[in-house]
Symmetry: C2
Subunit: 343 residues, 2 copies
C-alpha cells in the first residue's frame, strides 16, 4: 500500500504538497497538481484513514448502537441515518448489542472518542450509572427513542412521545366502541415499553373505562412474543374485541395467532400496533397503527449528533421528534351491536 511520502518522492515534491493536492487543490500550481495526481494514479495511492484521523483528531466516523438489528425498525432507521451521514461525509458504524447491556457498554466504552467522533445510542434503556459514566466524555453522545421521560441533566436526547402513541391507539379503539381490549407490551432485556402502556391506560381512564391489569401480557418484543401473548390472552379473555400491541412486530405475531385459530381481523377482533414499520402496510389485513415517523427520527438524531460533533459546547440538548400519528388501515373496525364472538 503506497504512502504519502512515496507519492511525494515519485512526484518530486514533499508530503505537504501532496497533502495539499488532496484537500486544497487551489493552493497548488496546476502543473504540480498534475504531477502529483499522476504519481497517485501510478501508485494506486489511497490515504490511510487511520493516520489521517490521528493527525486531524477526527475520524469522520460515527457509531450507531442499537439493541436488535433483526427488528425491522432499526434497519429502516439505519438506512436513513447512513444516507444523511454519508452526505455529511461521515462513515456510519452500526453496532448491534443483541439486547445485551454488557455489549452495549463495551461498545460505548471502547468506541466513543477513540474510534468514532460521536455515538448515537438507540433505545437502549441505559441505566443511570451508565449515563453518568458517559457524561463528561469528550465525544458527543446522543440518545434517541428511549423509553423513559426523565431527562434531567442527561445527555443530548431525541424524544419520541411514546406516551402519546399509546394514547392515540387507545383513543382509536375507544372511538370504535371497544371496551374489552387485550394489551401486549413489548420488552427487551433492559426494560419494557411502559410509556406506551401508560399512555394507553391514561386514555382509558380519561374515557371512564376501567382498566383490567389482567389483560396485559408483557413479552419479548418479537413476532413469536406477540404470538404467545395473543394465545394467552385468548384463553384468559375470550371476550376481548380488540388487541393493542405496543409494537407492530408484536401485532404481526398477534395476527398470526388469530389467523391460526380462524379468528378474523377485524371482524372478530380489531388489532392496532405502534411504529408503522414497512411490514404494517404489507400485512393482510394491513395494520392500523400509530406512526412514529422512523425516517424523521433518524434524520433528527443523526443531524443532532453531527451538529454536536462539528460545533461542540452546546450540550445537552433536547429535540422532539414529530408527534405520533394514527394510520388507519384494515385491521380495526367499529364494534357493531351484536358483535358475534367465536365460541
Amino acid at each position: 500500500m503506497a504512502t504519502l511520502s512515496e507519492v511525494a518522492r515519485l512526484a518530486g515534491v514533499t508530503t505537504a504538497t501532496v497533502s495539499n493536492v488532496l484537500r486544497n487543490p487551489g493552493k497548488v500550481r496546476p502543473a504540480t497538481v498534475a504531477r502529483v495526481e499522476a504519481a497517485i494514479a501510478q501508485l494506486g495511492y489511497r490515504p490511510n484513514l487511520m493516520a489521517r484521523a490521528l493527525a486531524r483528531g477526527k475520524s469522520c466516523m460515527v457509531a450507531l448502537v442499537l439493541p436488535s438489528i433483526t427488528n425491522p425498525f432499526y434497519p429502516e432507521l439505519v438506512r436513513v441515518a447512513e444516507r444523511v451521514a454519508r452526505q455529511r461525509k461521515y462513515f456510519l458504524m452500526v453496532c448491534n448489542t443483541d439486547e445485551d447491556p454488557e455489549i452495549g457498554h463495551a461498545y460505548l466504552n471502547q468506541i466513543a472518542g477513540t474510534l468514532a467522533d460521536g455515538v448515537l445510542v438507540l433505545h437502549m434503556g441505559m441505566a443511570t450509572e451508565v449515563i453518568e459514566e458517559l457524561r463528561g466524555r469528550h465525544a458527543p453522545i446522543v440518545l434517541a427513542s428511549e423509553e423513559f421521560e426523565d431527562f434531567s441533566d442527561g445527555l443530548p436526547h431525541v424524544i419520541v412521545n411514546f406516551r402519546r402513541a399509546g394514547q392515540v391507539a387507545a383513543e382509536h379503539l375507544l372511538k370504535l366502541g371497544h371496551r374489552k381490549i387485550g394489551v401486549i407490551v413489548g420488552r427487551g432485556l433492559e426494560g419494557m415499553q411502559h410509556l406506551r402502556l401508560e399512555g394507553f391506560k391514561h386514555a382509558l381512564l380519561d374515557a371512564g373505562v376501567a382498566f383490567d391489569e389482567s389483560c396485559v401480557q408483557c413479552v419479548l418484543d418479537t413476532v413469536p412474543g406477540g404470538y404467545q401473548a395473543t394465545s394467552s390472552l385468548l384463553s384468559t379473555h375470550p371476550d376481548m374485541t380488540a388487541i393493542f400491541a405496543t409494537n407492530d412486530l408484536l401485532a404481526f405475531g398477534a395476527s398470526q395467532a388469530l389467523a391460526d385459530r380462524g379468528i378474523r381481523i377485524p371482524g372478530d377482533i380489531s388489532l392496532i400496533g405502534i411504529t408503522d414499520i414497512q411490514l404494517a402496510q404489507q400485512m393482510r389485513p394491513a395494520l392500523t397503527t400509530v406512526a412514529l415517523h422512523i425516517q424523521e427520527i433518524a434524520k433528527i438524531s443523526i443531524n443532532l449528533l453531527l451538529d454536536l460533533i462539528e460545533n461542540p459546547g452546546h450540550q445537552p440538548i433536547l429535540v422532539r421528534a414529530p408527534e405520533p400519528e394514527l394510520v388507519v388501515r384494515a385491521s380495526t373496525s367499529s364494534l357493531r351491536r351484536g358483535h358475534l364472538h367465536r365460541g
Copy 2:
C-alpha cells in the same frame, strides 16, 4: 481524554511500561502494574484505537458491505457475523450501499486496507472491472453470496449454490403435480437472480416440462415487487397453479396479492420461495421455501475473512456454503385432479 503518556507520568513510569501493563501484564512487576492501573482508573484512561491501529498496522475492524439493509436477509446475516467477529476481537462496520454501485465502490475504495483490515462483500454483483481493481489490494476481501458462477482467478469467495436452490424448488412443485408455474425473479440494480432461475428451468427440462418464458416476471427484490409481479402473472396466466419466487421477500408480496384477490394458498395456488428468512415461518400460511442457511453463510464468510487477515498469503480460496435444503411448510400442496380454479 487522557493519553498514555499522562498515565505514565502519573504512575511514574514510561509509556512503554504502561503499554506493557495493557497487553503483557506478565512482563511487569506486580507493584508497578498496580501503580499503573491506579493511574489508569484515576484518569479514566481508555486507549485511542486510532493510534493503536496506526502503530500496529491493524485496526481490528472489518467492514461488511451489503446492498440493502432493509432486506431482512442481511440483518439476519449481520447479527451472526457480528457475533463471530466480536468473539474474535474485531469490530464489524456495516456499510449499506442501497443498491448503488457507486456507493459500494466508494466504500471499498476508501475503507479496504485504510480503515478496515478486511472487507466482506455480500451479494453485490460486482462488475469484473471492480474485481480486477480489488485484486492485489493489501487488505483481504471476501465475496459471498454472489449471483454468478465464474470464479476464475477472482477473490476469495463463499459460494452459495443458488442454481441448486432453484432446482430444489422446481422439483418440489413438479412432484406435487404442478405444471403451469408462474415465476418471479428478483433483481437489484446490479443484476438479477438468474442462477436460481436457471436451476429452476433446468429441473423443468429434466422433467420434460416445457418452460414458458412469458411466465417470468423480473422485478425489484422487494415485497411490493412480488406483489406487482403476482398481479401481472394473474392477469396474463390465470391458469397457473403455482408460483415460484426466487426470494422469500417476493413470495411474501405474492401472498399479499393473492390474499387481496381472495385466492387461497395453497388451495388455489401453491407458493414457494428461496432463502428461509424468519418471515417465511411467520407468514400465514407459513411459506414453503428452500433454505440457504443464512447463519452458516455468515459464519463461514466472516471466519474466512478473519482467517485471511490473520494468516495472509493463501488467497484466493473458494469455500462452499451448505447445500440449499427444502423446507416444506403450508404454502404448497399437491395439485388435485379437478383442481378448481377461481374464474
